[in-house]
């Protein structure tokens, strides 16, 4: 009885079906544990958390240099910027926009730097549904390889104040 003092000698090794279940459950836990390191080495999608300390001002300066050097157009007053394949790209998150618009090539790999000027923001790439956290003070680097063409929307999915639901950005893949 779960509410009364157990009888003396309650210590018993598991037996029968209970023992079998513990064995099965343990095996399953082991499988799940192995999956993560396995994917770390063999899988293509990982979050390694590569990041460097950076002040918001310094990050913005780098991003702006990047924009000036690689600007290829403009949409609604926001620059469209195309980084060199294999090169660095910068994406600034701030209340309440993503800056600039990135234009990438399918199959090329880029180092995309994410950081925030103010609060936490959430980088959520739709409709792919890939999500990463963006913090002020951290230059979060994603090594990203677009494998599909089209226009992708960055939605902010970390609460960042009253304009949070209207904080969008774009990534164009050609």
């Amino acid at each position: 009885m779960s509410l009364s003092i157990p009888e003396r000698g309650w210590y018993k090794a598991p037996a029968g079906a209970e023992k079998l279940w513990i064995g099965l459950a343990l095996t399953w836990c082991l499988v799940m544990s192995v999956m993560m390191p396995y994917w770390h080495f063999r899988g293509k999608q990982n979050s390694r958390g590569e990041a460097y300390a950076v002040t918001p001002a310094a990050f913005f300066e780098r991003a702006d240099t990047f924009v000036q050097a690689n600007k290829v157009g403009e949409r609604d007053g926001i620059p469209i910027v195309e980084p060199a394949p294999g090169g660095d790209a910068y994406l600034v998150a701030r209340m309440w926009s993503w800056y600039p618009i990135l234009r990438l090539r399918e199959g090329q790999t880029y180092r995309v730097h994410l950081s925030s000027m103010d609060l936490n923001h959430g980088f959520s790439l739709q409709p792919l549904n890939m999500n990463f956290q963006v913090l002020p003070g951290y230059d979060h680097v994603l090594t990203l390889t677009p494998t599909s063409k089209g226009e992708f929307t960055i939605v902010c999915n970390e609460f960042c104040g009253i304009g949070h639901d209207r904080m969008f950005g774009k990534i164009l893949v050609e």
Partner: protein
């Protein structure tokens, strides 16, 4: 036992002890702990009611076709809902469980009324401070209040008070256990329910210390006394509070499963060692701090994430899987012992389904296990988190654990707490029998609607998904399902609150007689007790159910790896 303990002043059956005799169970009830169980439980239900009103406002806003609240009130009410539900309702109810578990089953009196008063006063003051600060619009920072978002200092101070108050109550619990052991008010080991509560209390201490570590510098910063703590550090420590406290809830919930299973069917653990061992695993392997919430964060590396997600092995998950077997197995064994031996599931139809505590617990086990557990482990897998972080999948997951699981189990327990502790029989018993089904069904829809919408990328904590243009009709459909489920669930929540309040005011007193029975499983005529005690394979229905569970788990888990493999390569 009476003869042994009659001379012990801290025992409840000692002459002149502040206790009464329970006319239903025959146990002695400590009058001090009874008053604090009452106070805590009543406060808990008040916070549940507040959180429930907030819930319907939120759901009717996220249901895009209704879109009820203006934007500032949406985030305000979201902050309010998270704190009143996850922190206040749950903590006050858990304190009630602790006071129960350390006194009545151990025949021991509460260590100190003064400390209990101090704890209660701090918790209540803190909670009221937090709620007022939110409602006057000075803390639109959501429950997590991630820095550099900043709320009014009263908000942080309120949370600190709640945390310190709860710690004080937990101290009272430990002190009571200590004097009970010292004075030998009972002989042998503590009952399983107390053991589960003890596990919950130990984890609670670790959790609440994290809360203090993160909230104190945030409070001093909000006062302008100290510099701003690092935002990443804040996330890491805050989730040491936020995530580990969920393990407290799981422990308390599982203890309630065993308790109600016993009250309604006479179930006893198939193997005490296994059940206790599983609780021990929770304490030892509660995944360190906060990793589950930082899986796609910068500055914490892959090995840190992988190690802390699994603690190298998922032994806390193992613990839940063990309880997921032993709870139904113990119930099945009790039923078979009573003579319901036909086929795999012959015993199921004979279960006391009209007992609302029992149906609440069964639904709690099923929703927690099949939905909450499976989604939780999958979403908490380091890489899979990339396709789930901060989407509504997360909210869908924890509405299956902490609402469909813990909250529903606690509601079920209330169907015994009120008759036994407040000594009034429930009013509107027909409605009470229906209530768990409504709540469980509603929450199931809420959880599934959220989960599917989240799979399509719909963010959590988002006022309006329309402007982005990124979400199509399917997303709206799932948000609609969530909305309809929310109407059902909140109706059931209000019904629960009305039943409780109605009973406290108008319920018939049952002092001097046993409580009105909800319905318990009956032994078939002529069946002798204990025939199956040594058959370790008799729980055939449970074996079948857990096999289905494991298969569903594996399918869902690998389907998510497949979905992950389909997105862009990223390192």
């Amino acid at each position: 036992m009476t003869s042994l303990t009659a001379t012990i002043p801290t025992a409840l059956d000692a002459p002149g002890a502040q206790s009464r005799h329970c006319d239903t169970t025959g146990l002695k009830v400590c009058l001090s702990s009874q008053s604090f169980i009452k106070l805590s439980a009543v406060s808990a239900v008040v916070f549940l009611l507040l959180g429930g009103i907030a819930a319907i406002l939120l759901a009717l806003t996220r249901w895009q076709a209704v879109h009820l609240l203006p934007v500032d009130w949406f985030y305000r009410i979201l902050t309010f809902h998270g704190l009143n539900m996850l922190i206040f309702w749950i903590l006050f109810f858990e304190v009630a469980i602790l006071y129960f578990a350390c006194t009545i089953p151990l025949n021991a009196r509460l260590f100190s009324r003064k400390i209990a008063w101090a704890a209660f006063a701090m918790m209540l003051t803190g909670a009221v401070m937090v709620d007022v600060t939110i409602l006057v619009g000075r803390a639109d920072v959501l429950m997590t209040s991630y820095l550099p978002l900043l709320a009014h200092p009263a908000f942080y101070l309120g949370i600190i008070l709640v945390a310190v108050g709860t710690l004080t109550a937990v101290f009272n619990f430990f002190a009571t256990l200590y004097i009970a052991k010292r004075d030998r008010t009972y002989e042998g080991s503590v009952p399983l329910v107390t053991f589960g509560a003890l596990a919950a209390a130990i984890i609670a201490v670790v959790t609440l210390l994290h809360g203090a570590i993160v909230m104190i510098p945030t409070f001093t910063y909000s006062m302008g006394w100290t510099p701003q703590p690092d935002p990443m550090w804040y996330r890491m420590i805050w989730w040491g509070l936020g995530h580990q406290s969920q393990q407290v809830n799981v422990c308390a919930m599982v203890a309630v499963w065993y308790l109600v299973g016993h009250l309604a069917t006479g179930a006893k653990p198939v193997n005490e060692t296994v059940c206790r061992g599983a609780f021990l695993l929770y304490i030892l392997f509660i995944n360190l701090a906060s990793a589950h919430h930082l899986l796609v964060d910068p500055a914490v590396g892959a090995s840190w994430k992988i190690w802390n997600t699994s603690y190298a092995m998922y032994l806390a998950v193992l613990a839940s899987m063990i309880h997921g077997f032993t709870v139904p197995a113990s119930i099945e064994m009790a039923m078979r012992d009573k003579g319901y031996v036909k086929g795999l599931f012959g015993w199921v139809t004979a279960l006391p389904w009209r007992n609302p505590a029992f149906s609440a617990v069964v639904l709690s086990v099923v929703i927690f296990g099949f939905i909450g557990g499976i989604t939780g482990v999958t979403l908490g897998t380091q890489q899979i988190n990339i396709i789930a972080h901060n989407t509504l999948r997360i909210t869908g997951h924890f509405h299956a654990t902490v609402v469909g699981g813990t909250t529903l189990a606690f509601m079920g327990l209330a169907y015994y707490v009120i008759p036994l502790i407040f000594r009034r029989d429930f009013v509107w018993r027909g409605a009470a029998r229906l209530q768990p089904w409504l709540f469980g069904g509603g929450i199931l829809m809420v959880s599934l609607g959220m989960s599917f919408a989240g799979s399509l990328g719909v963010p959590r904590r988002d006022y309006d998904i329309e402007p982005s243009g990124a979400f199509g009709p399917a997303s709206h459909l799932f948000l609609g399902i969530m909305g309809v489920g929310a109407v059902v669930a909140v109706t059931a929540l209000l019904l629960f609150c009305f039943l409780c309040v109605g009973t406290l005011l108008f319920g018939e007193r049952n002092s001097g007689r046993a409580m009105a029975e909800w319905g318990a499983a009956q032994r078939l005529p002529g069946v002798r007790e204990g025939l199956l005690d040594h058959d370790h394979w008799a729980m055939k229905g449970t074996i079948a159910l857990t096999a289905v569970f494991l298969a569903s788990f594996a399918v869902y888990y690998f389907a998510n790896w497949k979905a992950l493999a389909d997105v862009w390569p990223v390192q």
